[in-house]
């Protein structure tokens, strides 16, 4: 069997005296969708930032496609095939939707016209082509999520990290987003996704990693995770009460 696409081993990050991530280890294999869940403050976004090079780990390694990429800069990682979206959406507000998506293709080395073609394909695949000439700041939250995905796709990634697919999105848009992520996988992408909506996780993920206070408490198939006593008591139980 081939080596996993992403191997995270012993990843640790402290802010002040507090562990944001502590000795986190798991793999993401080719063609998989792995869900990352956990309560607020569990260290999910920090883990994304560590994997994508925005912050350096205090200990541990990240390997991508067999090579050690620990602490590598975000732009270099992107060129290797790692793309991400942000939980707090970061469109380029005063660029058009199309220009937003072109940036990733241009950074890959494309010329203007081929970047435009790539951008249009990416926008079509997320269903935003009708908005392409408008400014990004005119988009709704759901549209911005799609824009971020299109932007990431235009970099030609092999691994896509999605920070909250459905957070802040209105209910009717959710099935469309689920379909979109599913179709990305069928095109050969590997995905690591942070998601609070368990319905989304259950329908998409092959495996689920549960983080709590920066540590990995459980890992397994979605059904195993939802039956895991600690996950239920720390996360699912409370969520059912709260929501």
């Amino acid at each position: 069997m081939a080596a996993p696409l992403l191997e995270i081993a012993g990843l640790t990050k402290r802010f002040g005296g507090v562990y944001a991530n502590r000795d986190v280890t798991f793999d993401v294999r080719h063609g998989e969708i792995v869900g990352l869940i956990g309560p607020n403050g569990a260290g999910k976004t920090t883990l994304f930032n560590l994997v994508t090079g925005f912050i350096r780990p205090d200990a541990g390694t990240v390997r991508f496609d067999g090579a050690d990429v620990t602490g590598m800069r975000p732009d270099r990682l992107c060129h290797r095939g790692v793309a991400r979206t942000f939980q707090i959406l970061k469109p380029f507000p005063r660029l058009t939707v199309e220009e937003n998506v072109m940036i990733g293709a241009l950074a890959r080395g494309d010329a203007m016209e081929s970047a435009r073609a790539t951008a249009r394909r990416a926008l079509a695949s997320v269903g935003l082509e009708h908005k392409r000439d408008g400014l990004a700041r005119g988009l709704s939250t759901g549209q911005r999520k799609r824009l971020e995905m299109a932007r990431a796709l235009a970099t030609g990634p092999r691994l896509l990290l999605l920070d909250e697919i459905t957070g802040g999105v209105d209910q009717p848009s959710i099935p469309g987003l689920i379909d979109l992520v599913g179709s990305l996988r069928s095109e050969g992408l590997t995905l690591l996704v942070i998601e609070h909506n368990m319905r989304v996780i259950m329908s998409l993920a092959d495996r689920v990693v549960f983080l709590h206070l920066g540590e990995k408490l459980a890992e397994g198939a979605p059904r195993e995770i939802t039956a895991h006593p600690e996950v239920v008591s720390l996360y699912l139980g409370r969520r059912r009460d709260g929501h």
Binding site: F54, C78, P91, I103, G104, L106, A111, A115, R151, A154
Partner: protein, 350 residues
């Protein structure tokens, strides 16, 4: 042909651009008085610097108050090489550009890691430190600066070699060339991949970084380009006024004025800084000329001891720095009412 003339470059039809450039080129025929030529020369000089600042401040969103440094590099290199070694500005200019690029790398590499206020303050402190260092650098004339010896050129070739001309006309066309070069550089960058990256960095640095844009590298390129044009302006300035001193080159005040030109006209736009320069420079030059005339009158009356002389004296003061006063006032009004600058104001009327 007609379609081409109607084509718009950032909202301005090509026909209008042709007319404006022609008007600038023909202006000295109409304006024969040195003062009126001087006003437009200074407008084009500051316009060029505002446009250059806009590459870094407007496109890349890195607000620097240190551009006086690059202006000073151009001015001091020319003045020092000429007065110390008799070197023509034609020879010293490549040296100045090399120094400017070196300084850009040295300063840009560490400071571009800083964001927001931290970056702005770093540029302020570096500028202020350079000012103190140059003011105490005896070889560069300290706080007094360097004055060119008067040189009477014999023939055009000699004048070109010395970079000194007896009347303002050659300076005028050199300034026009500089101004157009700055605009051309800005436009070329704005339309390129490089320009797209800069705007992406300005709009959302982390997103640009995650999409594969080498943020540090492109910020540095933007600084180098911006600094090079500013250095060119510095060399022109030294050869034009034939006197270089710290306060009018490597100072925070000059750095502020440069950035302000861009803000006043419209930050991040092609035409904004050019427009800004042609609004504020003539205004302040005229005001200054008017007030210094008034001051000469009042001083004589003060000597006569007229009854209200002291009042006028205090009310008019030195009459100095009225340009800065206007700068300060206008800058606040722009920040308060129309951060998109005069261009934004015009668009609103439109």
């Amino acid at each position: 042909m007609r379609a081409w003339l109607a084509h718009r470059v950032e909202g301005l039809p090509v026909a209008a651009i042709v007319i404006l450039v022609a008007a600038l080129a023909l202006y000295p025929l109409a304006a024969t008085m040195p003062f009126w030529r001087h006003v437009v020369i200074m407008s084009m000089l500051y316009g060029a610097m505002g446009v250059a600042w806009n590459i870094l401040g407007g496109l890349a969103g890195q607000v620097s108050f240190g551009h006086g440094l690059y202006f000073g590099v151009g001015a001091y290199t020319a003045a020092y090489c000429y007065t110390a070694f008799g070197l023509s500005p034609i020879v010293s200019l490549p040296m100045a550009l090399a120094i400017s690029t070196g300084a850009s790398v040295l300063i840009g590499l560490p400071t571009f890691r800083l964001r927001g206020h931290y970056f702005v303050l770093a540029s302020v402190f570096i500028m202020q430190s350079i000012y103190v260092l140059v003011s105490n650098w005896d070889r560069m004339g300290g706080a007094i600066g360097i004055e060119y010896p008067v040189y009477k050129a014999e023939g055009i070739a000699d004048a070109l070699w010395h970079g000194q001309f007896p009347d303002k006309l050659p300076y005028y066309y050199a300034a026009l060339a500089l101004f157009l070069l700055a605009l051309g550089t800005f436009r070329a960058i704005q339309r390129s991949r490089f320009g797209m990256f800069l705007v992406a960095i300005r709009e959302e640095q982390d997103a640009a970084h995650s999409l594969g844009v080498d943020v540090a590298r492109y910020k540095l390129y933007a600084l180098i380009a911006s600094a090079a044009v500013t250095t060119l302006a510095g060399t022109f300035y030294a050869q034009y006024v034939l006197y270089v001193e710290p306060i009018s080159t490597v100072s925070l005040l000059v750095s502020l004025e440069i950035g302000f030109i861009a803000i006043l006209g419209g930050i991040g736009t092609l035409w904004g800084p050019a427009l800004g320069a042609f609004v504020i420079v003539p205004t302040t030059e005229l005001l200054r000329a008017y007030l210094s005339g008034r001051l000469a009158l009042d001083m004589s009356r003060l000597a006569d001891g007229g009854p209200l002389a002291w009042l006028e004296y205090y009310a008019l003061g030195g009459g100095g720095n009225v340009d800065i006063l206007v700068y300060g006032l206008v800058i606040m009004l722009i920040a308060r009412f129309q951060p998109a600058g005069v261009l934004g104001f015009l668009r609103r009327i439109d």
